[in-house]
Amino acid sequence: MCGRLPLATPERIAVSAAGVVTPIGQDLDTFWSALLTGADGISQIERFPVADLRVGQGGEIKKLTRAVDWRRVPDCRATRLLVSAADDLCVQAGSRPLDVEPDRLAVVVGTALGGVEEGERALGGSPRRLARALYDAPGHGLARWLGARGPVVTVSTACASGATALGMGAEMLRRGEADAVVAGGYDILCRFVMRGFDGLRSLTRDRVRPFDRRRSGLLLGEGAALVLLRREREAGPRRLGTLLGYGSASDAAHIAAPDSQGRGIERAMRAALAEARLDGADVDFVSAHGTATPLNDPIEAVALRRVLGVRGATVPVNSIKGAFGHAMGAAAALEAILCLLAGRHGQIPATLGLEERDSACDVDCVQGVPRALRPRISLSTSLGFGGCNAALVIESA
């Protein structure tokens, strides 16, 4: 199913540092402790009107608190989220600007919506050019802030975008196109996407309950998450872990619903494990997509059981979407970072919102309290509109 093995083991790619901005924390440490303590980042949305929608809640970042000189950054929320996460990344990496020759520093970001709010402004008559509304504009804004003069790439595989970005960044390093890549994902909470998901009746009026038998839908969130990737032999000892494998696959089933048997996410997981030269039996922890829609969770669970094999009943699984909603393009990158932090700290956060696991989601969900476990090999899974599936295999340092 995963095809012929490649000719040579792929070069190992180190994750040297990470930076985040989320509704539960605007730096890595705060994000991590918030996940552990079960902080709830869902609130009534204030930044734009929601009174006409069935649901007005989401994971909204109320105010960007990092000490960035915002005068130097375009007045585009998406770009500002990226810059905020990049600022944290630079602190974590120990240098601002990053210690990389500018021509050899690449940027690869994933997004579901890009700078769509700029599009709303362009159509609203504000003299903003179309260029800022196109989805790849924020990525270029980030590159300018970082002083990166290497390749700047935007990928958009819906809610799998963050994973695609990391996979593409790793491949660019293997080909020698850059010496370091700032890779990750972002998306903003905006009226466009709230109207969209509200109209699809996908949003819950309760809370987000991944894998719970009472789950009734997702909530949306926003954020940005970035990692610094380097070839392992050049990365030095300071690192969070290693990106061992990436895989993607298309469902070819439906524009807005996953394959009913999870065959696409299964193929993506197997492809990622094959690139990592591992199989399901090697996985210690799964950071699942776990959106809490009636459809997603059981499909993901059965696919996980097929891939994880006999240990599938006892490999811990969690979803962080209960804590701040589905951050779309940022989600997969945040979940990859979670895997690295779990390995560093020897704890797996509980799945916020999960109280009574659905028997149709027959995986060992971490619920109630964090679980003491230091995963060496983690698997992160993402599914998106248009049948986009992606998976990452991550090794903790």
């Binding site: 199913m1 095809g3 012929r4 093995l5 490649p6 000719l7 070069e11 021509d103 579901a112 769509v116 599009g119 709303e120 362009a122 159509l123 050019r129 179309l130 260029a131 509304a133 196109l134 989805y135 790849d136 270029h140 390749p151 700047v152 790439v153 935007t154 990928v155 958009s156 595989t157 695609t164 593409m168 491949e171 080909r175 020698g176 196109e177 466009f192 109207r195 969209g196 109209g199 699809l200 032999r233 895989g247 993607s248 696959a249 298309s250 469902d251 070819a252 439906h254 524009i255 807005a256 696409g264 193929r267 492809a271 690139e275 998106g384 509109f385 248009g386 049948g387 986009c388 599936n389």
Partner: protein, 274 residues
């Protein structure tokens, strides 16, 4: 990286079908028209009743590619076919309609960049590796390089690189973008079928615009502004005239210039430290 072989190319553009329709000089042939459009492909109306024009253009481009190959859809169906999609702005009309509240709730999924490749994947049963890049010509060039990497590592047996651009519905917005361009915006949909090959593929890029004026007769001056479709039009034209060997594809977008070159020189893997 190891150069892939090109099995087939399908091309639809505002000029017409294939390379035969492409003029010698785009500005002259456009006769003052700012946008050259592709008509909504006449595919099964009930099966594709929800599909947007740009989605159908993608499906039609793959159909044209299969015709070029003399193959049926079964030749590409399945998990051993990778699908890579690149576009600068194919999602703009769907986003505009949704923002202007002219679409109902079921049209929201069609605002995703992934909508076009999703329709193609569904229409042809493509279930292999799946990647989507946003940007102009360099994004497509990168998609080709990425496809070459997937073929080289054995992640797939064949890779389709698809690009679609539509401008009509947002022509007024593109007017604001057009100042650097004096060529018409030309809609397009093109799909490239790549397979494992020999030789070397090189992707280079740098910050900075193209040096000086383009030669008359260069691809851009012939096809007009096709953004992400331009590299595929370049390859189609190259294949018609001199063949692929030594072909160079050039593209610029947002201050980055990229060059993709096919060479017969045997590909040598870079030595790696143990």
């Amino acid at each position: 990286m190891r150069a892939p072989g090109i099995r087939a190319i399908g091309l639809l553009s505002g000029w017409g079908r294939g390379t035969a329709a492409i003029p010698v000089d785009a500005s002259e042939a456009a006769g003052g028209r700012p946008v050259l459009t592709v008509e909504r492909p006449a595919l099964d109306p009930e099966r594709f009743r929800r599909s947007r024009r740009e989605c159908l253009m993608g499906v039609a481009a793959v159909g044209a590619m299969l015709e070029d190959a003399g193959q049926g859809p079964e030749a590409i169906a399945g998990e051993r076919t990778a699908l890579l999609f690149a576009t600068a702005a194919a999602y703009a009309p769907s986003n505009r309609e949704f923002i202007e509240a002219r679409g109902g709730s079921m049209y929201f999924p069609y605002t995703a960049v992934a909508a076009v490749p999703a329709e193609v994947a569904i229409a042809f049963g493509l279930t292999g590796p799946y990647e989507i890049l946003v940007g102009g010509a360099p994004a497509t060039m990168r998609a080709i390089a990425r496809a070459a990497a997937l073929l080289e590592t054995g992640a797939c047996d064949r890779a389709l690189v698809l690009a679609v651009e539509v401008f009509e519905e947002c022509a007024d917005l593109f007017e604001r973008l057009r100042s650097p361009f004096d060529r018409p915006l030309v809609e397009g949909a093109a799909c490239l079928w790549l397979e494992p090959g020999d030789g070397t593929l090189t992707l280079e890029r740098r910050r900075g615009w193209k040096d000086g004026q383009e030669d008359k007769g260069s691809v851009g001056s012939r096809v007009g502004e096709m953004l992400a479709c331009e590299p595929l039009a370049t390859l189609a034209l190259a294949r018609d005239s001199a063949g692929l060997e030594g072909t160079q594809v050039h593209g610029s977008w947002r201050g980055e210039t990229a060059r993709l070159e096919w060479s017969r020189a045997p590909y040598q893997t870079r030595p790696r430290a143990a």
